[in-house]
Symmetry: C2
Subunit: 205 residues, 2 copies
């Protein structure tokens, strides 16, 4: 594409570097912004910059947070002895919405996926094992999406923590195999938290 303005070209190139947005869509978005008041573009621009520069991660659970300890970890009413292991912040939001879980989370930041170059060292697994070693944990719930990568990650973590004296459970397979946790309806997801089963049992299914 040849653009009549380098500002347009630059904006289209940057916007189309986002996943799922091509050059035509980017140009459509740019023309939309040009028809709106300048304040909308400036607010959008500031929001993106502020988000990237100021977002913090909870030191305890690696969830996104504005402070060093996220709201969930610093809530005294939550059960510190149960830890739910999830892939990212969207899964925390999805489980919180069901109101079925009163423990804490541990956000891995992804799944083991050799094809994408993501091994165990790229994820927050080491800090999970440190937590388990501390002897204050009674149960670890593995709540990753039930895909190939999710199952691999579940099994990797299980092997690392199975020697310690804790219960390892996995959320019930009420959610269909291959589906993403994020898009499951609240009732199914809530029930799958309530009906979690020992990890050993899930291997026999």
């Amino acid at each position: 594409m040849e653009f009549p303005s380098k500002f347009i070209e630059n904006a289209v190139n940057e916007i189309s570097s986002l996943p799922g947005i091509g050059k035509k869509t980017a140009l459509r978005l740019v023309l939309f912004l040009l028809k709106q008041p300048k304040s909308q573009s400036i607010n959008l621009s500031n929001a993106i910059e502020q988000m990237r520069l100021n977002v913090n991660f909870c030191k305890k659970c690696h969830n996104i947070s504005d402070t060093d300890n996220c709201e969930i970890c610093s809530n005294p009413n939550r059960d510190e002895s149960i830890i739910c292991v999830v892939e990212d912040i969207r899964d925390v939001m999805a489980i919180e919405k069901t109101s079925s879980f009163r423990g804490l989370y541990h956000v891995l930041g992804g799944k083991i996926s050799p094809l994408d170059g993501i091994g165990p060292d790229e994820l927050n697994i080491e800090s999970l094992i440190t937590k388990v070693k501390s002897n204050q944990i009674k149960e670890v719930i593995l709540a990753l999406s039930s895909t190939m990568e999710g199952d691999t990650t579940n099994f990797y973590i299980y092997r690392k923590i199975s020697d310690f004296n804790i219960i390892t459970s996995t959320i019930a397979r009420g959610i269909s195999v291959g589906d993403n946790l994020e898009f499951t309806d609240e009732i199914t997801l809530g029930r799958s938290i309530t009906n979690r089963i020992p990890f050993e049992k899930s291997l026999k299914d």
Copy 2:
């Protein structure tokens, strides 16, 4: 949706105010940016702000341009006596790509669309009539998308300029009715510029 960080919430709200992007897609884009180097978000943010604040419009044809006169208008090899009337910059880019047109453009900035509250006064029609009155124009080519709104706009402009001693033509209906100019293939679009017909004749079709 409840967000664990106000920076994330703010960014998701601003991004989802763009057309065709919902809150889930916006959150996916935000999480993507968080996994990339900070520089990517800052470049994106700057590109949007710079684009909106610095983009200029050509004073002659209303095309987007970095200077007061766009590259096309200031090119001495182009035929100033033929003006091609288009809806927006994407149509200029599409026609330029065919290399079938050596005249100048006039960008209306939209189509007459009463349902969207866009009347003739919202478009750059007055300046087109001033150009036609100046007696330096031999032909006006109406090249709007062949939709209801495009036809209405074509007819409105035709009535305003038909009293002057110029040829008014419309691009050949090689492009299918209801299709957008932007997505037509180059050969069809190029041919429809070459085979333009007098506007009077197009009314009888």
